[in-house]
């Protein structure tokens, strides 16, 4: 896996696994976006928001930011997969209490951008992202599940 680009945007640490330019448009709330009163292309999902509400609008979006109010709140993992399974190709950013040990799972669920509250140690992240050669299950990343390796 390619090393991410670790930069700062507006003083905030930022990790991106995409080659396109970062969206700098501020993200609007899900309610504001669904109101139809805005041309926003960036939406922020709070942990309790239902990502399925965006499925009809994916082609209008270039950034979806998913909030992790605490690393223990795993709703955002499902939100990410639902968006990727729905065909969303834009930037999918995990924001908030994003820690190095959760980040590989987030990558598997389709997140390709991270706005962690605290800076992530680059060496620990590099080890975490490259540690596992195999994955048991298919998810939203490109990893080939072990059963497919076994049987082609």
């Amino acid at each position: 896996m390619a090393d991410p680009e670790q930069t700062e945007i507006g003083g905030e640490p930022q990790l991106r696994f995409r080659n396109d330019a970062a969206t700098d448009e501020p993200a609007v709330t899900l309610d504001a976006f669904l109101d139809g009163q805005t041309n926003a292309t960036a939406v922020r999902l709070e942990a309790g928001d239902d990502a399925r509400a965006l499925l009809a609008h994916l082609d209008k979006l270039s950034l979806v930011e998913v909030s992790f109010p605490t690393f223990r709140d795993g709703r955002g993992y499902s939100a990410a997969r639902i968006l990727r399974e729905g065909g969303y190709l834009g930037e999918l950013r995990a924001a908030g209490d994003v820690l190095v040990d959760q980040l590989p799972l987030m990558r598997r669920c389709g997140f390709d951008s991270f706005a962690p509250e605290a800076e992530i140690d680059a060496a620990a992240l590099n080890r975490a992202l490259n540690r596992y050669d195999y994955r048991y299950q298919a998810a939203a990343d490109a990893a080939v599940p072990v059963w497919k390796l076994r049987h082609g």
Partner: protein, 543 residues
């Protein structure tokens, strides 16, 4: 039984490396205890009252002699010479040092073992029928399905930070030996029109709000299994409450949504998930199934037995069950000696059980949710020899499913959550009813003790259950009657005001005395209770 290939081994080895890295970062102060806690829990490492406790996974309770010996080795080298088998068919060690934990995991990995997801808010070790592959009444070996689920659930990226822990059981017989409907998901394999599939029950559990899982799907085939279960989990992950830890289990969600609405949402999600192609092909099912093919039984194994030794005959009648293969039997080794600690085994006893499995049971052992060990495939001609070896090792207590075969949580002797001690109470009850004839006269009587409302000792499912509570700073025990974790599943009801430790032992004695006076021919305690209800027992207890 299942053997790792290079993929399984690589994943478990990587996990050891990962945990070593996490422990080093914790010890170096790079991560906080708050951040470290879920990481260590997902490797089965708890911080208890006196030390760290490490819970090692025994997937669906099956292990071989090499693995069993490793458990003994760990008990000797890293603990105080014993281990404790648990109600999730795992083993835990109560005196572990944090800095040793990575080395222990590394040793476990050499025998295809680990501590992955034995705790934490993730999908826990898959449990199953301890008689799988040997039971005369099973439609298939449930462990094939359990292994599919084990692989799917291991480091599942979407479901590693669930609202709460998530427990799955798979059985394949009408007789439920795994408390299937008291799991977050329980699957019973059945045959329909010549095809194998699973009835899926979702939303059972014990804890402070016990519930019996309703049936959510009446038939799911193996090729849809992972998609269906993924849909079940996704609906839970979306809605499961995170504001209140006591309302976060899936049973609460299903209770609040209603089984019909939950089912509707799961079916909707299933349609979407099925299209993703996440189900392994039949070739993978067949690959796993081949590991669970029956061992090379001797079809000429004699079916007669010399019962002339009376002690042996008692043990045969109590602890030995019929096998699907004529000439063989299923032996349950009781880890409940009178006055002992339920579920504990010394390193030497672990070695004895490993040796017996290797020599007489096609190298297989099982851990039961009732905290005993099973030798699943013993030729009848070997039963006496096995019994003699068990007797020498202090492992031949003939009390399976009797009142002294007690399930007990570690309680206040070890656990930081407990309100009351469980172990000394279990010892007192077993000692009170030590007389073997008296126990056998009482017949099947499942007694289960939890030292707090979290119900690790399954007190809701006990024919007689005991719940330890804290009453104004002193230990107090509530008595429950009428629970069952078996196919006749039910939840026990509290008799009335609680007791102190000796008081609850007396109360149990009064309950059993009333049972003996009231029972009809062939009735177990539970049957009598169901027929006559709580009142006569209340009267016996409280006068």
């Amino acid at each position: 039984m299942y053997k790792y290939d290079q993929y399984d081994q690589s994943i478990v080895d990587a996990r050891v490396d990962e945990f070593r890295d996490q422990v080093q970062r914790r010890l170096a102060g790079q991560i906080t205890e708050d951040q470290f806690k879920p990481l260590r829990l997902m490797n089965g490492l708890y911080l208890q009252l006196h030390a760290y406790m490490l819970r090692v996974a025994v997937p669906y309770g099956t292990l071989d002699s090499r693995q069993m010996r490793m458990l003994g080795h760990i008990a000797r080298k890293y603990d105080r010479g014993y281990g404790h088998f648990t109600t999730r068919q795992n083993i835990q060690y109560n005196w572990i040092k944090l800095e040793d934990a990575p080395d222990i995991l590394a040793e476990l990995a050499t025998v295809e073992m680990h501590a992955i997801q034995t705790s934490g808010n993730c999908i826990r070790n898959i449990s199953s029928d301890q008689f799988a592959g040997a039971a005369h009444d099973e439609v298939a070996d449930p462990r094939v399905w359990a292994e599919l689920l084990r692989q799917w659930s291991t480091f599942h990226p979407e479901f590693s930070y669930l609202p709460r822990k998530f427990k799955i059981a798979v059985i394949a017989a009408d007789e439920d030996r795994a408390a299937m409907r008291l799991h977050d998901i329980g699957i019973q394999l059945v045959e329909r029109d010549g095809q194998l599939g699973g009835r899926v029950f979702v939303g059972g559990g014990m804890g402070r709000t016990p519930m019996i899982a309703p049936e959510i799907r009446d038939f799911v085939t193996a090729d849809d299994l992972l998609s269906y279960v993924e849909a079940c989990l996704r609906v839970y992950n979306r809605y499961g409450r995170r504001d209140n830890i006591y309302k976060a289990r899936i049973k609460i969600l299903i209770h609040e949504l209603g089984a019909d609405e939950y089912r509707r949402q799961v079916e909707e999600e299933f349609v979407a998930v099925k299209a993703l192609g996440i189900d392994p092909p039949k070739a993978e099912f067949d690959r796993i199934a081949a590991f669970f093919a029956p061992p090379a039984f001797d079809t000429a194994s004699p079916t007669s037995l010399d019962r002339s030794d009376p002690d042996f005959a008692v043990w045969l009648d109590q602890n030995v069950k019929p096998h699907k293969q004529p000439g063989y039997a299923i032996v349950t080794i009781s880890l409940k000696p009178i006055g002992g600690i339920p579920g504990d085994a010394s390193a030497d006893q672990i070695d004895v059980m490993a040796d017996l499995a290797e020599r007489y049971s096609f190298d297989e052992l099982r851990v039961t949710h009732a905290q005993n060990i099973v030798l699943p495939h013993i030729a009848q001609a070997d039963l006496h020899t096995v019994w003699q070896a068990l007797t020498e090792a202090g492992l031949a207590e003939a009390n399976l499913d009797l009142i002294s075969d007690i399930i007990a949580c570690p309680g206040l002797d070890y656990c930081s959550l407990a309100n009351a001690r469980s172990i000394p109470l279990a010892q007192k009850i077993a000692t009170r009813f030590a007389d073997a004839n008296r126990q056998r006269d009482l017949g099947e009587l499942k007694l289960k003790i939890s030292g707090c409302i979290n119900a690790c000792g399954h007190h809701h499912a006990g024919h007689i259950g005991i719940l330890g509570v804290d009453r104004k700073g002193t230990e107090n025990y509530q008595l429950l009657l009428g629970g069952s974790g078996a196919e006749d599943v039910s939840l026990g009801k509290i008799t009335g005001p609680g007791f102190d430790e000796d008081g609850v032992v007396d109360a149990i004695e009064r309950v059993t005395t009333r049972y003996l006076a009231e029972r009809s021919e062939g009735e177990r305690f539970l049957d009598t209770y169901r027929r006559i209800g709580m009142e006569p027992f209340k009267e016996a207890i409280y006068g």
